[in-house]
Amino acid sequence: MRFGTSSFKTLLLSNWKRSWPLGFGYCFVLFFSVAIPTWSVGRWSDRALLDMSDQLYNTITVMPVVAMIAALAVAMVMFDYLMKPSAVGMMHALPMRRSGVFAAQMVSGFSLLTAGNLFIALCTALLASTNGGVPLKALWLWLLCIELEEFFFFALAACCAAVTGWLLGLPVIYVGVNFMVLAYRLLLNMMAGAFYKGFSGMDQDQITKFTYWCTPVVKMVQSTEAETTADGYMNFVRVLPRSGLNTVWIYAAAGVALLALAWLLYRLRHSETAGSAIVFPWLRPIVCYVISVAGGLAIGTLVFTLISRDGTDRIGLVLWQIVMGAVTYCAVQMLLQKSYKIWHRRTWIGLAILAAILILIPTVIRLDPTGYQRRLPEAEDVHDVWISGGIIDGLDSKDPQTIADTIALHALLIDGAYDDDRYDSRETQYFHVTYTLKSGETFSRSYSYSIEDNALKTALGKLVNNPELRLRSIMEGREDYGTDFTGGMVYCWMSSADEMLLTAEQARALYDAALADAATPVDVDTLLEEYSSYHPAAYLDIELTTPKGTYTLRNVTPASTHILALLEEYGITRAMPEAFEEWNVLGVPYGDDVVNSAPAIEDLVPSSASMG
């Protein structure tokens, strides 16, 4: 590969001359998305340099998308000759080695992008200087990032161009390669959601990281998102995170490997393959199965969702996936063979293999070889647990009792024959749990189930009546606020009445009432009933103030008998009847009977002074 030869220079010049409209278009887009906005933000600003710098850092975040599209367009222009038999005949008859032609095309393409980037950097600098300064560091980082990103994407596009002899196939393959892992991740998530009981996304962070690394544009956008940092007093500036630049460098290094691969593939490909969708015979079955399996899973699920009544027939889902996979397979075969006549023995064998794969995927998921569905942590291994869903308010707890109760309920959901497909019951409940283990690992599960089993109801009742959960369900606020109340306030946003102020004594009494309500066991059926109804907490703000912070009472339901008794006593139920009307309309018992039946506070909690 001799870069200084006359042939190389001739090809380079010829490429530049041919592709100037593309370079012009590229500069046009960048001028209006980088240079003009940068100049514009600094025009009327009294901190022009910082604002222009911020703008450039914000621009860096979207540059991976620009780089991905630009690299594809340039690759399509530079390697279009590979797609036409006459053009490839001319280019490969020239007195140059294949490597020389490849190098000339790569250098032409990348230099075209680089020239555009340098031009835009110059324009941006010139325009910025009219605002009083040039944000040199941000501009340099913008240039460096887009150069490295374009290098990676151009090498990737060259790889794609080297495996196809069909110009329209190039963007299809390029987009496929860019998003294939993410697409498969989503499809497998979807399948796991359909076939795993309790599925709540994949546990392993490593898989997520791998997925994003294999989806370069997403990873680059995430990594180069500018951070805001304080630069002196009240002077916040945007900066490119160090990890973002590192990520771009890593992709640039990967671009070198891709470049080597593209060069190898380019040398291996035969000139006569111009016009073929995939030029390497060994690659065709891989492409065919990758697309067909993805098409079967995605289109099959879509069709099944559209025509299925309740979406619970797993066999029907698999059958539709096989049918749509077969349709995709035939379409891909027609494209690869450039013929409608694909019905030969090999096609039938291929279809059989595809059907086997599409049956195997849900079967393997259902058989659960990794033990995903039955995974239950030991209580002593759990650092904290986050639970939510239905009658359980979102709660993050390190309390061993709460953790034990959560695991007990979780175990019943795993062991029991609770069908998570039934959504028609009034008593359908949702349960989402995320365990954070002491090892640092986290994993989550989600269930929907119908309470018809006494054991399950008992476990749920135990969990929701756990004092910690119950208290935090009723009252929001930190323990270290203490009980040195200074007052409080009740406000009903449904009512025309003004907010009512509470005295310190009233606030303390309400606090004690909340503790008493939290300590009072509540029947699960009552909670289920309340769950499907409105209650005053939906309309009331009750705040109890201490010098250290404010407690908020929430979830004031008919079961909150002590709080309700005090609200009645303070005349709040009469002053703000709108908060309670809805409740009555819905037929939930409320009135003197409820209030009068409440046990005395002092019977339930020893003393409010002992709290806090």
Binding site: T10, K17, L94
Partner: protein
């Protein structure tokens, strides 16, 4: 000298070249003929370094052609489907070829403006097929190649331009010793220009000879006798005979002078040796050998 030695090329199971072997002598005008799908264009793309053979060798004066820029610099090619950059004109393409071929002759390029009645600043894409072919000849001949490889070169050219082009080509052969390999499915096209001919069918080179060798060894006679046709003298190798009235036509193998002397002993009223066409040579050379020669030449 261009050589193909046992070249095999398969396109997804189809054997386009099947142990094809041929030799184009230096300074020759070699006509490669054969029916459609015989493998002519395929072997030509091997000679121009476009295709890589599955097996066998393609050599130019003993040097491999594939991936050998030094050798390919000595070859210019006009393929059947000549490619040009879509927005280019002849002048721009000439600069491209001048950069690729050190032997590109700019003086000749200017002179050829007199030969080809086309504008060199008009975009090539706007030219007719025949004009594009003229442009291809213009540029290829300015490269001053040692070896010129032409695939169906005069398709689309009018008769006057055909004559002009062949005249230029033969002038280069005479002046510079340029070797020309030209493929055609039409023997009559090549008859006046080739001194060597190879015939291809089904991926094989069935036969290759110099035209003079063929013509020296085969004689076509027209003979008329006053009465009944006598018995021909023994020792004559008659390949073919036919009669129209009292005029008999014989194709005989052997030395022309010796055959004429022998036939004179039969006292004919008329004895005349007439030139053989390429078509006849191949029909009679290969006739009866179970080759589809008629399909090839007709």
């Amino acid at each position: 000298m261009l050589e193909a030695k046992s070249v095999v090329k398969t396109f997804e199971g189809f054997r386009a070249l099947d142990e094809a072997t041929m030799t184009v002598p230096k300074g020759a005008v070699y006509g490669l003929v054969g029916p459609n799908g015989a493998g002519k264009s395929t072997i030509i793309r091997h000679f121009t370094g476009v295709y890589r053979p599955d097996s066998g060798q393609l050599l130019l004066e003993g040097q491999p052609i594939y991936e050998n820029p030094d050798v390919k610099r000595r070859i210019a090619v006009i393929p059947d489907d000549w490619f040009y950059f879509p927005q280019a004109n002849i002048a721009e393409m000439s600069r491209f070829y001048a950069g690729m071929y050190p032997t590109f002759d700019r003086e000749r390029y200017q002179k050829m403006k007199q030969v080809f009645p086309i504008s060199d600043v008009q975009p090539i894409r706007r030219m007719s097929k025949g004009q594009q072919k003229q442009a291809a000849f213009w540029l290829a001949m300015c490269c001053r190649p040692d070896y010129l490889i032409l695939d169906e070169p005069v398709d689309g050219l009018d008769p006057v331009m055909r004559r002009q082009v062949w005249s230029l080509l033969l002038g280069d052969v005479a002046e510079n010793g340029t070797t020309v390999l030209v493929s055609s499915h039409n023997l009559r096209e090549l008859e006046d220009v080739c001194d060597h001919v190879g015939i291809m069918n089904k991926g094989k080179v069935l036969l290759q000879h110099s035209l003079s060798e063929l013509q020296d060894n085969t004689v076509k006679l027209q003979v008329a006798y006053p009465g009944v046709e006598p018995e021909l003298p023994a020792g004559l190798n008659v390949v073919h005979r036919s009669s129209v009235g009292r005029v008999h036509t014989y194709i005989l193998r052997g030395n022309r002078e010796e055959i004429l002397a022998t036939m004179a002993t039969t006292n004919p009223l008329l004895l005349e040796a007439i030139p053989l066409t390429l078509e006849e040579i191949f029909i009679y050379e290969l006739g009866g050998a179970d080759y589809a020669v008629r399909d090839i030449v007709l």
